[in-house]
């Protein structure tokens, strides 16, 4: 597969050629179609892409949470600190889930149970993996809640989820994810439902937690702005494949995949006023009817005949910057 600049043993999580297909009504939706990525220690890695590109499915398959049927992991490896998670049984997986890999979801209101207090739910998360007596547990929970910046944490323990604001609920979810001191936190669009000012606070919180706990974060988002603010490395997904990968500088300053280029050009802002906004024509393909060859070719301004036939190969631009578009690669190499 891809040539990586860093030796393989520094990777905490390494996903290799993962394929997740969904079967329904005789149709086979190739939600994730051979993606590879890695998360190193103390690193924030972002996966960006539009809805339906397979971001969330990739995250869920790391935790073994793909409902099967209809879902099926057809191929690939998920190596977490050296062991292949796909080979583990449910019992072994449960020890890892929540304990070493924790997840924060998009909608904090639906991921908290409305009929239990914050204390009940946080306590349950802790006790699943650790033994603690009631006093110690309470002290630990208060510590956790104050770590994530919740004011007067002692009173919050007896509150119900509806009594907290959206931002505070997300903080509780983060506290829950932190409760077992995980090595990797997977955050699936944790700030999408929040206001910009609250989003900024949550991102700031994630950043400070990561520094304090030397944890890795796999952050899934559709918001390029958020991604550029927090990511060490970025993977751009499109229709189940990895279109481009690199650091924030490479992705935002010299994007090498037509899809990434199109996405960046179509972002509105004040400086583009008066000019017509670039827009990628067409829409994201249905995963069950993905075009042959490069899945982006029907929307691509650079597409040539081979794009329709051949699955594009990854092209290396050096320093960890890779893009799956041989056409642009040719053009850039020839112009040099």
């Amino acid at each position: 597969m891809d040539k990586r600049p860093m030796p393989h043993d520094t990777a905490l999580l390494r996903v290799d050629n993962l394929k997740v297909y969904f079967q329904s009504d005789g149709e086979r939706a190739r939600a994730v179609d051979g993606i590879s990525f890695e998360v190193r220690q103390r690193e924030t890695v972002c996966i960006v892409g539009e809805s339906g590109c397979g971001k969330t499915v990739s995250a869920l398959s790391i935790l073994g949470l793909i409902p099967s049927p209809p879902g099926e992991i057809v191929d690939g490896e998920i190596l977490f600190s050296g062991q292949n998670l796909l080979k583990l049984d449910e019992k072994a997986m449960q020890k890892i889930r929540g304990n070493q890999i924790a997840m924060v979801f998009q909608e904090p209101l639906t991921s908290l149970n409305p009929v239990f207090t914050i204390g009940d739910q946080l306590g349950e998360a802790v006790r699943t993996h650790k033994y603690m007596d009631t006093e110690a547990l309470k002290r630990y929970m208060i510590q956790l809640l104050s770590d994530v910046g919740i004011p007067s944490p002692e009173q919050r323990l007896s509150d119900y989820p509806h009594q907290l604001s959206g931002g505070q609920r997300q903080r509780v979810m983060i506290a829950m994810a932190l409760s077992c001191d995980p090595d990797l936190m997977i955050a699936d669009e944790p700030t999408t439902a929040l206001d910009v000012t609250v989003q900024a606070q949550i991102l700031e919180l994630l950043r400070s937690i990561q520094q304090k706990r030397s944890m890795s974060i796999l952050y899934i988002s559709h918001d390029l702005g958020v991604v550029s603010a927090i990511a060490h490395r970025i993977y751009v997904m499109y229709a189940g494949i990895m279109a481009e990968q690199g650091n924030a500088d490479q992705i935002f300053r010299s994007p090498r995949h037509p899809y990434t280029q199109g996405l960046l050009a179509s972002l509105p802002d004040l400086s583009k006023r008066g000019k017509r906004l670039y827009s990628i024509p067409g829409s994201v393909p249905n995963p069950a009817y993905k075009p042959k060859g490069c899945p982006f070719h029907p929307r691509c301004p650079h597409a040539i005949l081979t794009c329709r036939k051949e699955y594009p190969k990854m092209c290396d631009y050096g320093h960890g910057h890779l893009a799956r578009c041989p056409v642009l690669y040719e053009k850039i190499v020839h112009s040099k």
Binding site: E50, Q199, V284
Partner: protein, 331 residues
Amino acid sequence: METKTKNNSIVLRLEDVKKYFPIRRGFFQHIVGWVKAVDGVSFEIEKGKTMGLVGESGCGKTTIARLILKLLESDAGKIIFQDRDISRFSEKEMKPYRKEMQIIFQDPFGSLNPRMTVGQTIEEGIRILGNKHAKTRKKSLETLLLMVGMSPDSADRYPHEFSGGQRQRIGIARALSVEPSLIVCDEPVSALDVSIQAQIINLLKDLQDQLGLSYLFISHDLNVVGYLCNTISVMYKGQIVEFAPSEDIFNQPHHPYTISLLSAIPDPDPDKKWHIKSSNGPIGDSDGFPEGCKYQDRCFMAETACRKDKMGFEKVGENHFVRCWKVDKNK
């Protein structure tokens, strides 16, 4: 706002509009307090121009949209639409004005009737316009669909057959079907993917150029608002705290809330260091402060005076107004 000049180029003007919702408690549903959803809002929209209304969720943006469209009755103030105060109009008096203003909703999935074909949905408006002949109706239906970038044969299909972006186009065609002069866009692109968002923004702009529409564009995405709008009103807890042309809001924001809002936008340019300019806490309970500034608990410039003084909406520049005690004392 101070600009009271009679001007025919103004499509819509709000003057000190208020809407309070009662908070009821107990068995007898006694009123125990009021939520000041809209608390003295004034602004105006020029013909063929777009005004952006930004603010956090719960600040009263959507309530304003509903007040303008008379889906809600305002408690006080004037809503002047095409030189007539419509705020106290009866249903009957309102009727001719209804088709002059339309709305585009945020959720392209929930805002179309799943049991009506696209054609039926859009044609309903054309029929209301008084177009009696089936043939001419069909003709205008086709024109509308082409106008929003859809093929005429999509008229016989149902909403579920379309993607989010296409549905939003259908919603726009429906709004246009009665030939309105003002369209209220309530977060029309926030449910869409980035690549689709740009298509819809371009469409809204094209339609404005072609038809001379005026937009009230409600959004929480400042980048979209900055790109699309001529003027911007920043709203906080039912009040407009700053109003100015887009460039001024972005380049010389005065109100501390505007400043913190702008600093909170993560910029996709890795060169720009992202730094949030305030230590503001979570948004507090509505109306925790009977006196003084509503933003005082989160403000990074707050002083004792902010707790008591009543602030006016002061002019700080050409067509630039701010509701902040500190700003107008400095000027």
